[in-house]
Symmetry: D2
Subunit: 336 residues, 4 copies
């Protein structure tokens, strides 16, 4: 099996921990050597529990470790670019959570450094690796819907994040819709030309008070003519609503929600099916593993990962245009 890939994780919040556990359970050819977190003490017990004894407060311990082949950047968004740059300069292969940043200049600088260093960079758009969406994409590529005309994406969370998080989230378009922008690009096989967004505060006035919206409908016009529409809500009482629909000249492909079970109960009240899986951790359980598989495989095969730095940049461009559209009440063209 050859040498193991040695990995360090920077940032052990919910998503960092998830990646760590997924590596331990699924990748025999990968060794999770070290974990860095600014609250190192809080994560030490958990890290020991999964067999990782190198837990640092200072992420440089990872970047400067010559044994480390690859770095997973799971810290807060404002640290991503700096960490990408330092990791690239140290010759590490890089997996970075979305979004890269909210600032296009910083992103471009980081991507430049990655290019210069000749390292790999994969962005954490895990939905592309969901088996349902992958199969839909495969069917599209096989021509089952012919030429695409309309893409519809519904993406609604089961409940809004804490207001403290909303404040630093970059706004709904860069925090939540960004996944849908990526999915629309993935499905359409084209780039967005123009964006028009409607937004409203309907779930919680506190979200409006910090300058964000919690309900949105975003229209995308792609270069190849495809029209896409995304609808978001921060709160769907029935659970995480994640559906896509791709309509074209030869048919329509839908991916319906994944239920928490296939049990159906018929009573005098009606025919009752289970709700969708609760949230992204449950819904994208397999996708989170598969995106790591892609990353490690790209290292082993020395090829570009299928979700590139450009794939990290484009949704930020779209998100910023959506913000502008909402603010100015008009469609906004993407300037590249």
């Amino acid at each position: 099996m050859g040498k193991k890939i040695k990995v360090g994780i920077i940032g052990a919040g919910r998503i960092g921990k998830l990646h760590a556990e997924n590596i331990k359970a699924n990748f025999d050819n990968v060794e999770l050597k070290s974990i860095a977190d600014i609250y190192a003490e809080r994560v030490r017990d958990w890290a020991y529990g999964i067999g990782v004894s190198n837990v640092y407060e200072d992420y440089k311990k990872i970047i400067e470790d010559p044994e480390i082949d690859a770095v997973l950047i799971c810290s807060s968004t404002d640290t991503h670019c700096q960490l990408i740059i330092e990791s690239a300069r140290a010759g590490k292969q890089i997996f970075c959570e979305k979004p890269i940043d909210f600032d296009l200049n910083k992103i471009n600088t980081a991507l430049e450094e990655v290019k210069k260093a000749g390292v790999k960079l994969q962005i954490g758009f895990q939905r592309r690796f969901d088996p349902h969406f992958r199969k839909a994409k495969k069917y599209i590529d096989e021509g089952k819907v012919g030429q695409i005309h309309i893409i519809k994406i519904t993406s609604r969370d089961p409940e809004p994040p804490p207001i403290e998080y909303v404040k630093v989230s970059g706004g709904i378009f860069l925090d939540m819709t960004i996944h849908d922008f990526d999915m629309a690009r993935f499905l359409s096989g084209s780039e967005v030309e123009e964006v028009f967004a409607y937004g409203a505060v309907m779930v919680d006035p506190a979200i409006g008070e910090v300058g964000d919206v919690d309900t949105a409908v975003v229209n995308l016009k792609f270069k190849n003519g495809v029209l896409a529409v995304i609808d978001n809500s921060r709160k769907a009482v029935y659970g995480y609503d994640q559906r896509i629909e791709v309509f074209g000249s030869q048919g329509c492909i839908k991916v319906e929600n994944v239920s928490s079970s296939n049990v159906i109960v018929s009573t005098s009240d009606g025919i009752i099916s289970d709700k969708p899986k609760y949230f992204f951790i449950e819904r994208y359980r397999d996708a989170y593993i598969e995106e790591l598989r892609e990353f490690f495989d790209s290292i082993i095969s020395d090829r570009e990962p299928s979700v590139s730095g450009k794939d990290g940049l484009e949704p930020v461009l779209i998100g910023l245009a959506a913000q502008k559209s909402l603010k100015e009440g008009r469609p906004v063209r993407i300037e590249r």
Copy 2:
């Protein structure tokens, strides 16, 4: 369009009234001339309302009317054979509700008379005309499931009939399952060789007290090797449950329940669909019209109706065998 077919209905209970209204609303080439009912006074207003002024207590007024071309026998089961015989002798075309009778000798005598008179006889197995089951049958005939191996029929009523009705119903197998026996024959394209029945009183002890069961599982072995299983209940709290499944060498065809609407409500309680249509009147609304169309068409084209006297006899044979099987606790072969 030629001459109208003149029709008389004998027995204006629920099903007789339904046929009457269906004739008025759907068949321009049919004239409903007369209605007979032993409680003529009770039905007169309703009859006037649909434009029928000849309402008799004595059914002979219909059978002896030389203008009447066809008779619909919708009276109680014990009168069917006598009315078939009299109608046949009077040269009337005959539509008779199921079951013909509970007594094989009486049925055979009636069928003999029909044959002798050279008139048509259609038995009221309306489910064969349901568009969903018809399409399933069409698919079977086209070979979509290949050679049939297993047939499954679920047939559950939303609530039991009154005990007074149960007493004279002939028992669950001749009253309720008889439709499923017909459906199994229709789908299998073969005749039943052997029957095994389990039955129980689970819905209402009063049904047991009058010697019947309210829950049953019946197995049929067909001459062509097909195995069929029917499950019945007199009470499904979620409504009329009418499903079939035909499994074979090349696939499986299912007909699912027809919902009272396609509305789906997602709430914090689950994903809730509407219940099946309430009972046979709602579920088989179209089928009741289509079986009449078949009857009138067979008269106009002077051909045999697709549900024949034999199709009326066979399910009674099966039902009697099921009764015997339940009583004696063993499989019973059909003697013909």
Copy 3:
């Protein structure tokens, strides 16, 4: 049952004939007395077939007939306003197909005359009477989704109309989307404030050549804050796609397509369900009957029909705004 309502139909194209046949089969208290069509000779046989012997070339024969209580206006759109005015002045109750007209001034004048004459006017938005959408509306009114946040309507035809029709149709927004505008108003319980439309020619270049689009995504912002999005295509190869989704604070209501049957075939190729009912005649069979019932009931009970002149005007306002939005590439506010 009292006196029958005497009805005349002006315009016996597909929809006029449908209404005529529905009246004959379903309304015992309504008499279809006369039919007018500019090609009277072409419809005479059909009219006789359903028992109507008064067939005129000149619609004035209907409007001037003092026996006629109600007029159904099913002629081409450009004649609607004139016929409404003449019918109103003659004191007739009026049912008029959608759209009233493409010209707001003409519509307002017609509505004025209706008001002056004190007659009833119902506009032919039959979808409001579809049992599935009605139930959805009932659930909304009962509060099952709480406060509405997002409405989504998918409306795709199985194939485009002839180019000759497209030319005089008023464009996709006034011909096709107008039903969806009505549905969005019906579901939201509010009025549209602003419209933004994307459109494209993807189905047939000939549609573009006559100045129309065949694919569209239209966003509506309602006064009560509801965001609605409608997507249209002139050609869905799998049949008539008619779905709605109403998302709110307490849940989500969907109406799924109505299949041509409930048969499901499982083979080595997959699990195959039947396609949606082919087109509006099949899909809205019951709705077309129910909208007439509403019209006749409003006459009998002397009350306003539930789809008023204003309900005819508003979708035209929205459609004109959508046209302007598409042309000018910006959201357009509705001016009233």
Copy 4:
């Protein structure tokens, strides 16, 4: 976390390998120390690959190893009882694949030895641990269907096993239906009183030539009155068909098939969903892990595993009765 449970696996065929891999990937507190297989050379490379270096031809190396806490018996059925007895005498905790044996005396002797030794014995009925069936059972226990009246189980394989396997399989009832017998007991909460079986050779005449059937319908009558019906086929061209339905006084619970994806493709051919997951390895992926979790948890908590030796014995009793019923053409009572 305390001491690890040390495990040995006897028999490294498909199911033995599956358990081995599941232990490695999912149980940090379990050490898979040794594997025995009569074809040790064939499995050595695979074993090394998952990090197991102790690979023996002789299973006694496992049973006599004082370090081993628990044994997983995954060898051929005819060896089960002997291995249970030896393992029990050596004080090992035992997990044994189904069926224990085809011979009731041998089973009883083995269970006696287990009892005498005071060790745990869990039988490999993994379906009880499937999350869908578990949830159904939970709903039943919560009373959602009230008193159970009818249980229906459909269990069809995607293709028959090799004839060499069929010969030694013990017949369809002990090889395949045995899982359904267990499921029926699990769901009903009662014991089977009487069995009636129909069987036929419809898939492959070669199966008939070795004395077995490939298509079956089996009826069970439970002590608590529940009627159950199981239908089996060795070949469903659309994949592994695993459905249950539990009907009772308050409603009905169904578990539908688990699709290989939630993608739905609408084309001019119909509305096409993906087929069920291919076979038991895919369908019960999680269940195989969860049954091991139950086994290891029962060891850690020193309690009886929820699938006991009795749960291993009862389905064999039912299977033997089904064989007798099929042979003698009559219902057979279970003698205990």
